[in-house]
Assembly symmetry: C2
Homo-oligomer: 325 residues x 2
Amino acid sequence: MQKTDTVAKIGESAALARTIARLNLGASAIVGPGDDAAVVASPDGRFVVTTDTMIEDHDFRLDWSSGFDLGYKAIATNVSDVAAMGAKPTALTVALAVPGDTTVAWLEDFADGLRAGCESLAPGAAVVGGDLASAGKVFIAVTAHGDLEGRVPVLRSGAKPGDVLAVAGTLGRAAAGLALLQFAESEPAAAFDELVDVQLRPQPPIAAGVLAANAGATSMLDVSDGLAKDAGRIAKASNVTIQIDKALLQGFEATIEQAAMRIGASASDWVLFGGEDHSLLATFAADATLPREFKIIGRVLPAGENPLWLDDKVLPERGWDSVTG
Amino acid sequence: MQKTDTVAKIGESAALARTIARLNLGASAIVGPGDDAAVVASPDGRFVVTTDTMIEDHDFRLDWSSGFDLGYKAIATNVSDVAAMGAKPTALTVALAVPGDTTVAWLEDFADGLRAGCESLAPGAAVVGGDLASAGKVFIAVTAHGDLEGRVPVLRSGAKPGDVLAVAGTLGRAAAGLALLQFAESEPAAAFDELVDVQLRPQPPIAAGVLAANAGATSMLDVSDGLAKDAGRIAKASNVTIQIDKALLQGFEATIEQAAMRIGASASDWVLFGGEDHSLLATFAADATLPREFKIIGRVLPAGENPLWLDDKVLPERGWDSVTG
């Protein structure tokens, strides 16, 4: 076989075989890829499951993201949803559709990204099955599973007045990276490549999900669509008000301020409304001992006229919508 | 809200809410749609998982299939893979991408098809989560889960010389339906609408999967890419030869012979090489008592020069390839 072989030339079975050969073995896989279905251990007697889609020209551009980047990001964006339930990621399935002229080398690079994402973000987890098909554009749909290990799942609906609001991970860095990639000149993206890297290969704090659950988190989600929109989701699901303390966001703004100035953007907007950091946003009782990954950024108040405030101003729950953009 | 509202107009959250409202509740869902992830019961301590993709203009045409048809087929094609492991389907996730001008009425029809597929093919199973995104073409990725209820999973690799080969469900009917839809004139498709229906809304014998496992099936898969190709997969995975008895296929040919004559096609080719019936193909020890859903169509012989025979002729393992077509 040649480095330049395409998927159309060698067919589904051969392309899948070469891709699967590069995956890691998961600790939970009883039957791995290659049969009608995989079999995965769920010693807890329950499993957590979530699914997410990445679509060419809507969620990514092939001239910005390598196959490796996309494989890595597909893992990151899905295991963060598992972590947000207080579960440990165990197994994933990947449905991939690519144009027929896609090279097998690209597929192998994608598989390497899947493997690296599992190994660095969710050790023990692995891709246990998948599907390869043909389409005009690249489509990636990942389903991720997790083990609650006996814990009660942490929902969005459990925040209580008096709780504190805290975040583990970064805010605004992925949005900064996207803005740098979209900027008319390429020099700023090169100058702030660590922000571009967060956009291309997010680094959500997966282990913090289990730590938060063990610390008694009353609600949790992963920040995929921006702090304001996702904090609003907790407020509505829990029927409470969330008040974010602007002063406590300064540390997040500081790390992206230079990039914002360079391209004439607002670091504060990135922190409040930028998606795709896949950090964990959680609420805890005021007397809880927070895992050190979590920084307090606000508080939970009784339900009122508006669900979301920044200090004493109403904060709009705007952010990313995966349909309307 | 209006019947003519589009997904782009009302946004992801509202469109998802209207879709989710039409789904049935599954017996296994501990946490259903609406949080970062669902939680599903797996009392067996293991779960079965499989994923499959359906892509507009590659796997279906919107002028042939309604939203309802596609939802129903998405369930059928995935729970058949669960059944082929000897498991009972429990829960599914659905990742759906549609153009922004798709009406919410179409989405609701799709959700109704998901529900009907679960209720009629896999009672107790339900869609527990999903994702809605925007794309130029309709893209559907379903992940299905099942419970082995303590049984050993039935793999493709367990067929033994001396076993019989048997099938539960139809052969060639879905391919006949596709050929009728593709035929230049529309009259034959109308005349044989029960075959077109199998193509649009397959009726795999899901319960037969558990029955086969209980009866000691040594290997099993679902016939998605055609009898020859899928029998070849069992032969190779099990390192045996499979010999199909042409005379035992006559009953399958008889039900599609008239349609084949009407459009100048070969009923025998549809039975041997036509995909998408999603019937269950299994091997059993010669002295096993087969569930009555299964009809014997061949036998398993020791490995030899060719893995697949039709009577005394080598049978090519051709069929459907989801990449090369």
